[in-house]
Symmetry: D2
């Protein structure tokens, strides 16, 4: 059973390769009556696209999209929404220098081991270009979440050894005002410089993205395997280059005591149930409690570096591999919209799944 389908009620299948015709996504489960705002989808794609700033890959992928199905007069009809993002220029490239070589820490060898052959053109299906499909689906998910008051904000919190201080309430305004997408403007400058330095070395570096989800009602998530944070975790870990995920107190929880970690309930002045602390990260027993959901996603350094590396080819011969072309020295600035998109896809899925919790929902 292949793995290009995500979600249960909000279920999408992505298709396409880095250097094929394009990238597409078919979404099943979008309710009828939603305005499918193409300009909004493209604005989200623009946040992910290469060439958007001086610190990302300078490849040109304008990433306009076509809505192939599922709407009439711009409104969703309840039938599958298909979105297509055509590739441009990629097909002309020459990949013969890596056609039979396994680039270190790429998926070349593992795809070959699995399938007995592989699409070596720019990584084929393993390329991060696939994430355009996620961003497109996530954009529509966000349009739905807006209707119920759920907002998702991701931002870069670390690049290599540059760690931004915690920001109490990150805002889109600040995040989108710098090319790193850091919530802390001063750190953003430092990060930008750091990334440029790394690029000069022909090297790459890892980074961290934090994400907060505001406005989630209590009650989203399913016991016991489809806990909201388990689905968020899977969504994040499925993104290219991600090596770790934690939420709420996360890895820090390991050294904490229960007496500190437990979040006490109280009723606020508006009569809403809240917790005095939020180590739970807005999720208890796998189900949202109405507090902010927040989590971290750790990204590894991009595998393509402009340095000679020793490796093997398909026949087992030792070879030297050298990066070519234009690649990201650090993936996180462009990964921010991807993290948001996957979070949105998970939340809409659970929003839809929450509509039959009670017998009274049916009557």
């Amino acid at each position: 059973m292949a793995g290009s389908t995500f979600g249960k009620l909000w279920q999408f299948t992505s298709f396409g390769e880095s250097h094929g015709e394009g990238i597409g996504v078919v979404i099943e489960g979008c309710p009828a009556g939603l305005e499918i705002d193409k300009a909004y989808i493209e604005s989200e794609l623009a946040r992910r696209r290469p060439g958007q700033s001086t610190i990302v890959t300078q490849r040109k992928e304008p990433d306009t999209c076509e809505i192939l199905s599922g709407t009439m007069d711009g409104i969703s009809t309840g039938t599958p929404l298909a979105i297509w993002i055509a590739n441009q220029n990629q097909k002309s490239k020459d990949y013969s220098h890596i056609a039979d070589k396994f680039r270190p820490s790429h998926a070349d060898y593992t795809y070959f081991a699995k399938y007995g052959l592989r699409d070596y053109r720019g990584g084929g299906r393993s390329s991060a270009r696939e994430t355009a499909a996620r961003v497109a689906a996530g954009a529509i998910a966000k349009l739905i979440l807006q209707k119920v008051g759920i907002e998702i904000i991701a931002y870069v919190s670390q690049v290599g050894t540059v760690i931004a201080p915690d920001v109490e309430r990150p805002t889109k305004d600040v995040i989108e005002s710098n090319i790193v997408r850091c919530a802390h403007s001063e750190s953003a400058v430092e990060m930008e410089n750091y990334i440029k330095e790394i690029r000069k070395e022909g090297d790459t570096v890892g980074g961290m993205i934090r994400c907060v989800v505001r406005g989630t009602p209590a009650g989203l998530g399913e016991p016991v395997y489809d806990r909201l944070h388990a689905d968020l975790g899977k969504a994040m870990l499925s993104i290219n280059a991600v090596k770790g995920f934690d939420y709420g107190s996360g890895f820090d929880t390991v050294s904490m005591k229960g007496s500190t970690h437990n979040d006490s309930y109280y009723t606020n002045d508006d009569g809403q149930i809240k917790t005095s602390t939020n180590y739970s990260g807005g999720i208890q027993g796998g189900i949202s409690n109405g507090m902010d959901i927040y989590f971290r996603v750790a990204f590894k350094p991009v595998a393509t570096i402009m340095q000679d590396q020793s490796s093997l080819d398909e026949k087992g011969n030792e070879v030297t591999v050298t990066g070519k072309g234009r690649h990201d020295p650090c993936v996180v600035p462009r990964a921010v919209p991807i993290v948001e998109a996957m979070a949105a896809n998970v939340l809409v899925d659970h929003l839809l799944r929450s509509k039959t919790n009670k017998i009274s929902d049916l009557i």
Copy 2:
């Protein structure tokens, strides 16, 4: 769509509550011809059960199991395997003191918000007692993995502030020789003392489990959403009290450079393809490369503490909640077999999924 089903080809559904009749699991997808070793299943359950040592809850749950279906003369027939672990004694307890109260950092409030009612008897479905079902399914998964030479070893690497040093090659012998299930004997003593101290305070503490999977062939895992590590991550995050997961270089990757992080391929003396380092954690592009898979799982402190805590009841009144009964001061010693079981369930699922990768597999 409810969330008590896990996996795609190795697909199991768990059922039952902490203080109902028992815990059960139905497994779909077990191939015919496997000896279902009941004694082995029970030996795995025994590693998870309460009362097994002085540092875990002293509740008595002997956790014998019945094979309800799917075998003849002890051999799997290819039809659903159902395993039942009856509860004992639990039903007589009195839960009136928490029947309408939301215990801090438990699932009481979120279940109530989701369903409009909840099973307050020992946490009902949200209780970690459900993990017995995972261990039972995982035991059978391990029996399959043994056939193909895959071995899974989990162990405690941290309890609160006590951090065990890295162990080059953890062994079952050492791990099972101490009641903490630490791979480093000296640290185990320290952890044991620490846990006892915490218990005296009426408090609880978090911990970390590491897991290594040896012997995985190259080629397990699916692009792009069902990456092997994404499924492992979801599996771990679905375990009660888990707050974080990372694999390979994990969160440390954030500050690393690509030139260091990339794992170079070479051929070893037996002609096998290996990597000189293993920051990838045995998985590249979501697919296993044949190297050891390793990951970490962060557990929060148990929410039930023997101290007064302020909270709310179902009507919104302020109340005081105090832990009663016998609970774990630290969950990780008993969580080791759960981590192993969920890893086994994921690996068998992907092993089964790998049988139709190539057209030549069909002919």
Copy 3:
């Protein structure tokens, strides 16, 4: 991917064999707050059980059930409902006479071909005893359908060559007043006599069941593969001994003209949209239109006959097989509740699925 799971949002997995410990079913997706009426479930099981009348098998299977999980104080909690129907007496039987023989038109050979081994005790998993699980799940489904005013009535319309005349509005009263479960009392007598005659010959005979679903709101069913009638058809065809399914005009449609067959819309005195004829069988484009849904299910003669038959054993030797024990001469009287149950399971599944059709459902 094994096939013992049915449905998408109302999803149940059955397990157990004819002569193992018992038959069970785990239901995922039952909303919280439903009274799980055990007496009602058992009354439905009683309609299916052997020994209920003089024209069915005289085996004794009292078929009481246990609710293993998913309720508190008799009310569903939203978590998996497990129901267990223990087998009685079966285990003592001797099956050595057929252990290695392929009974004609049974599943013996095909299971052997598929799995390399088989449970020969009473047919194992291929036994119609499995349908007890469907009836139990269907009983709960019916309890849900009652809340929204949907009623399902099945009845025998043909036994061998005895064809009952059409009945305008079949009633439970008439149907349950005769042991054949025919909606036409006079025909019931004739059918009963016919069945007894067949039994005397040591033979068996086929039969037909009709089913009508009243009170379905317009809008249930999904384009394009999960059409309501496609799911009903699969449900019926999955019942042991079923060879055909049609709905509305069914096979008669083949010789009809569009000018006759089309159902004209009009508004009735209550302002409801109706069709003047109902060749569509209440479903158009795979989606219910609010009219009665009706369909037919064709059952083959039971394969176990009290006559000598030539066959093969596992080694390919020619052997003679003779039926032993107590079997049904005609399956349809006991299949009526099974047909109803599977129809109920499909309708509840689509009822649940219909709750997120429109964006306005989410807000």
Copy 4:
């Protein structure tokens, strides 16, 4: 959960509308290494397309296709295969005359009831144009089946009151030599004349398609809900205009006795296990036994007729509806490749599912 996805291991999602941009399908689960023969896919589409003969609709849909993803150098890579069939000319049409009217026995009213809005342009998603996606997916399925020696042949056996005599061994040659796609040449002439007559009346008529699957190995199909014939039945019933399905002895079984109906096993001269009769239709207990699988599919008359019909509009007003444009007087000639395609899709799905039946398959 929307219903545009079919299959489990061979899983495809179709998208697109009659008068939108086109029709597409994304296939998950195609093993790597298959030559994706575009010309073959188009030849199958040509068998389905309008305008191919004088007895079908004269609309022009050339139905060429593009392979959007999943191949390199024409070979499948194991990743999702997307196929796109662009619509041509359709968008310019005027549908204002039916925009708010419910055409009798179309899906207009039911889609409106379900979604609160509908795509009225040529039936939108409910149009039989969607079946192009099935044929495309089925063409690739056939390419796989060819590798294992499975052949599928469908043909028209009845048109209105014209019934072709049974043909012992239908051949593609005869079937494709006449425009009705009847396996009996003389009947084909009669059927052709009948259809032309019906068209002159402005009317439409139903028809029957038979299908035989040769070369299936024993062991395909899953107990208990995913029986091979249940999945075939669902596949056929999901095709537009289908009202009934039966297999093997089918509806005739109702009046048969077990002593006649049971198929006796014997070993043929080549040492293969066969049955002397084949009332089982090649499937026993839901699993193939290696004999020919055969089944019937009943199609209703096309709903669009060139006659005035009374109906309602969205506001409940009485209106007159008259067919316009070019429509099929009888759907079965063009439905033959659709029936074959859906059968192929089911068989490949079960072929893939059969690869993990036994533990020995894994080692």
